[in-house]
Subunit: 346 residues, 2 copies
DNA sequence: GTGTCCGTTGGAAACGTTTCCAACCCACAC
DNA sequence: GTGTGGGTTGGAAACGTTTCCAACGGACAC
């Protein structure tokens, strides 16, 4: 059962291949031709070959999402938001997980193959090589994260500073004064900016002391390990743990539990990203959402917009954080604090 | 900066296009030609165009994963397992989320476009139309789930019967005798087989009574709602809830918590899939893993094997379940029970 | 010197589309 | 009757590869 091509359709309809193509694509063609061609196509069960179409048109109708860490639910949230936008726009979504920094650069460079029309990338680490690769990419790239100011790429950012501000202010308003920050790797984009946000917020608060530690990975296991050491050695010195993401927060929650500390009575704990994990843990993990789904959606839309209009000015969009207060930080009924949205373009 | 094609490379190397192609692809060519062509390609930064290559070769070097419900972590586990295999084999992975049954059929039919070389599909509902579409697909399709016996498609199945058996046996051995099963939609593959497994297990046990209810979706919210009603109306009649998946289990856990029932003292709760959610909830949710990651891996490998050797006999592989005992069902230290692996081919 | 064989090469076809361009037809105006 | 113009049409080129096939050249045997 050989492939049905447009040549077969044209023959059956008694018209030229050119006319068949025009009729099927809604270009200029007489009503009669359209009717004949449609009928022939239907009878033969014709579907245009995506490979041939891609070659001829120079586009694949595919977009890529380069995901940093597929084990982290926050990236899954982003991905599904992206998938929704992409599918609704008649594109397909190609998923690639970026390994280390070198592999990420390679991935961006592989865009030269022309297998997608554009890419959304959420890199964990933004190296100079990566910035260079992105600027030389033959198709549009939208970055979920931070880029140098003059990079000239569409960017969607989280507002880590205000996010951490919401967390710290909340803890302070709950009477916590001695905070410990458990960060992930500090050479990553989230690690760097969340630490920075934490420091600013602490500096702005009165009578608040803080200590900072960092772990090698944004995972539950790493968070648990670090929290156990921290709580064993310095439990008396702190009354709240600010985790750099939900996974570390969950790890800390478990560590506190295993060490017999009562949460939130003895220790308040907060996370970042407001993933489903924070929602289902008991007590619920207070967490500041940085709008992962929203960022994913915006990135995908920015990408589509740029493909549609390559000359448009680059945009940098920042998504407002939302604090979700749950049982891990407060005994009262939980509530929600949303920062005002902010948006900027360059 | 126009695309650099193999024609440019050939010119620069002073050879024909045919020779350039052969040299780059490691076909017959003299050492000298290879050297010249490689040098030219490197100087020009040549990369073969995936679109042209796809058309000529009739394959795209892409595989698709049609995921039933991207909001359920178990499918994310499958997806990342698939991604790993696919990426390691020099293929790309295209993700499509299948909506309802009609959309799923459409998706399979869209394989006629030739945008991928094969597909792994995990359909929630297997309709006759879907079976027909799969059997007529122009590229190999591997099904994660159940297919009619004579469908002649490679299939990777979970062993729901034994999985539910492990759960029920565990509860019974913990002294539970009055079980409630909260199922998801019963017209889905998991709904049907998990219910069936539950019934068999209960029938095989002594002195065990059971009730069954079903909800409209395998979600936390649905599980919570159903559990609240169930526990309010019939809390006295049951001592354990067997949830059809972890999401429903988590919902039940929260419902019990909110209603002041102690877990596991008053009520034991179990889930299915052994997702990260079961692991992080407190108490941990006892859950029987059906080998999602393993099934994903096997499906991807089966697909690659069939592409490599189209004539090979169809295979049906069943992955053994593993019971993960956690605090939601037992006060003793948790433990793990693995069923023996089983494999069958047709 | 002629013939044979093998390794290498280049021209051209092919993959299935879309689209350029010239040709055509017909209606209408002059 | 001739000319003009708009709407349709078909042939052929083009997208960038890979691969078929015929031709070439040199080495070797006779």
């Amino acid at each position: 059962m050989a492939r049905v091509t447009i040549i077969d359709v044209a023959k059956r309809a008694g018209v030229s291949v050119a006319s068949a193509s025009r009729a099927l694509n809604g270009l200029v063609a007489s009503a009669e031709t359209v009717q004949k061609v449609r009928a022939a196509a239907a009878e033969l069960g014709y579907t245009a070959d995506a490979r041939a179409r891609s070659l001829k048109l120079g586009r694949t109708q595919q977009l890529a999402y380069a995901v940093a860490d597929i084990g982290n639910p926050v990236y899954v949230d982003m991905m599904s938001a992206i998938e929704r936008v992409v599918a609704a726009s008649d594109y397909r979504l190609v998923i690639s997980s970026t390994g280390d920094a070198d592999a990420t650069v390679e991935l961006v460079e592989s865009l030269r193959r022309g297998f997608v029309d554009g890419m959304v990338i959420s890199p964990l680490r933004v190296t100079d090589e990566l910035v260079a690769a992105i600027s030389e990419a033959p198709v549009p790239v939208v970055v979920l994260g931070r880029m140098p100011d003059d990079s000239g790429t569409d960017t969607v950012m989280a507002d880590s500073t205000r996010g951490m501000g919401l967390v710290v202010d909340h803890l302070v308003s709950e009477g916590r004064r001695r905070l410990a920050f458990i960060n992930g790797p500090e050479d990553t984009t989230p690690g760097r900016f969340r630490l920075d946000g934490f420091r600013r917020a602490v500096a702005a608060a009165r009578n608040v002391s803080s200590i900072e530690i960092a772990v090698d990975d944004f995972t539950i296991a790493e968070g648990y390990g670090a929290a156990v050491s921290l709580l064993q050695e310095r439990a008396g010195e702190i009354d709240a743990v600010v985790a750099a993401n939900d996974l570390i927060g969950i790890g800390t929650l478990h560590a506190a539990d295993d060490l017999g500390l009562r949460v939130p009575a003895d220790l308040a704990i907060t996370g970042v990203d407001d993933t489903e994990l924070a929602q289902v843990s008991r007590p619920g993990l207070t967490s500041v959402g940085l709008g992962a789904a929203e960022r994913g959606r915006l990135a995908a839309e920015l990408l589509l917009a740029r493909i549609a209009e390559p000359g448009r000015p680059e945009q940098t969009v920042t998504v407002a954080p939302t604090l979700r207060v749950r049982g891990s930080s407060v005994l009262r009924a939980p509530h929600t604090v949303t920062a005002f949205p902010r948006e900027a373009s360059a």
